[in-house]
């Protein structure tokens, strides 16, 4: 078995979630790598859309920001900022959106705005950007995050991007067109969401990880799926393809 890092594992597990022909709203870093990896493997017809308005980019380097010039030259299409959000996201054209944040809670709500109170912040974070808009409109939200107690909280300090809010009933009342949180991928496991309650549920533990380890790093009593799975380890092909995508280890370092 090959050696791999926690970041490599997360990227590979995330890439496996993508289906051929889907359209993905891609952020920089890990999600960008996951989408590019899926495209090289099982999803050659993946449509990559960037928040900056670039569609079907063909980057010659790993972009530092979603507005990098390398995402423009050789792209399929480019539109304005309002158009990107209006035609693609609100237009219901995006299947998968990747999100991250400082905190995520048991209903998949994400905080990327503030630690502490909004008016008197302990730590002021960048804010929503497109995150709330993505959460409200994509069919599947996938969150990739390190599994740490300070990130997994029972209730987020500030709800930036709605998951199932306080359960699936509330979500349905909001009449958002999106499908809600779909998977949370960490260095330890993959979690999904209960069909009825919308609560985060341990679905698959990664190689060498125990349920106890996951629970230790999750500050509430985590639900476990009836049929708990074992995440298949990365294949040699997955790892080799991934490393070729980030030879300078900009994101895999």
């Amino acid at each position: 078995m090959m050696d791999y890092t926690a970041n490599e594992l997360m990227v590979i597990v995330a890439a496996r979630e993508l289906r051929d022909g889907e359209s993905v709203l891609v952020g920089v870093g890990i999600p960008n790598l996951a989408a590019n990896l899926a495209m090289k493997l099982q999803a050659p017809g993946l449509n990559m859309v960037y928040e900056s308005g670039a569609v079907g980019s063909n980057p010659t380097r790993m972009p530092l920001s979603i507005g990098d010039p390398c995402l423009v030259t050789g792209a399929k299409s480019i539109c304005s900022m309002y158009e990107q959000f209006a035609y693609y996201l609100q237009g219901g054209r995006i299947d998968v959106g990747f999100l991250g944040g400082a905190q995520i809670d048991k209903y998949g709500n994400i905080n990327s705005t503030v630690i502490g109170s909004y008016k008197t912040p302990k730590v002021r974070l960048p804010g929503s950007g497109g995150a709330c808009d993505i959460a409200s409109n994509v069919k599947k939200i996938i969150v990739i995050t390190p599994h740490e107690k300070r990130r997994f909280v029972e209730k987020v300090d500030f709800l930036t991007s709605p998951g199932y809010v306080d359960g699936k009933q509330k979500w349905q009342e909001l009449k958002l067109q999106g499908g809600g949180p779909y998977a949370v991928i960490t260095n330890l496991c993959t979690m999904r969401f209960d069909d009825v309650t919308g609560e985060m549920t341990l679905a698959s533990v990664h190689p060498g990880v125990t349920v106890e380890q996951v629970q230790e790093n999750t500050p509430w009593k985590l639900k476990v799926a009836e049929k708990l799975e074992q995440t298949p380890p990365p294949t040699e092909k997955e790892i080799a393809t991934l490393r070729a995508l980030d030879p300078d280890k900009t994101y895999l370092g």
Partner: protein, 305 residues
Amino acid sequence: MDSAKLMTMKEAVSKFVRDGDTVYLAGFTHMIPFAAGHEIIRQKRKELTLCRATPDIIYDQMIAAGCGKKLVFSYAGNPGVGSLRCFRRALEKSQPKTIEIEEYTHFGLSGRLFAGATKMPFLPMRTNLGSDLPPQNPNIKTVKDPYTGIEVSVVPPLRPDLAVVHVQRADRNGNAHIWGIIGEQKDAAFASKRVIVSAEEIVDESVIRSDPNRTLIPDFVVHAVVHEPWCAHPSYTQGYYDRDNEFYMQWDEITKEHESTMKWIDEWVNGVEDRAEYMKKMPQEKVKKLLPKACMSAPVNYGSV
């Protein structure tokens, strides 16, 4: 045709930017008009309401220099790097002074600008609901959809006093060709009462007229035209120079303290006369590294009938 529009950035800022203005220096990552921001700092404009989806380094600098009273924004980070430390210092510690904030999502803020550009009374959008943001921002309201009875989120139009929009090429009247990430360039120009267009190149009107679909901003919404090569550095201009990602990473170091930030501003903003001097000060091997290889568009035929 009003050729009197052509002026220096110094003249344009002096003539069109006033203390207390609501300003929008446009550009989503791309073509952020740093030269205008620096000139506003040099001319000591204050009490500005600074609007940008992504405040980016440009507003971080203006906040550190004390130009801003309020920030209207949707993502206050240094993309791919981390925080905007000057913004955080103002918000968390009122250093150098306190700053008010008015916050939206990207869709919300770009929507406000679009609604402002097209003078919509208000703009309905599928977002905000369920988020904690609307309770913090009374400008985000709901309206009952008369077709379905469902409550939908709405935002009001944004109509800045001034926009600065950097473009690749414009004619002397301000007809502007823009390509690459077009962001909020067009909406900022149409939404604002006064518009400064700065351009990498001033071209003959015939170049503009050879491709009217490329003209996102027509002359008659433009008040000043500035020929300002390298206006956007450390941001970039597609086809002209690359983003200076290295500087974006350095900014995180530079701004560790307010003092170190002001030292940089005193050297690179107040210590130079204009953008030309700023560029002369830049190591030439660095400038060279930012120049892209040519990659031309396939031309199209408009035909003459």
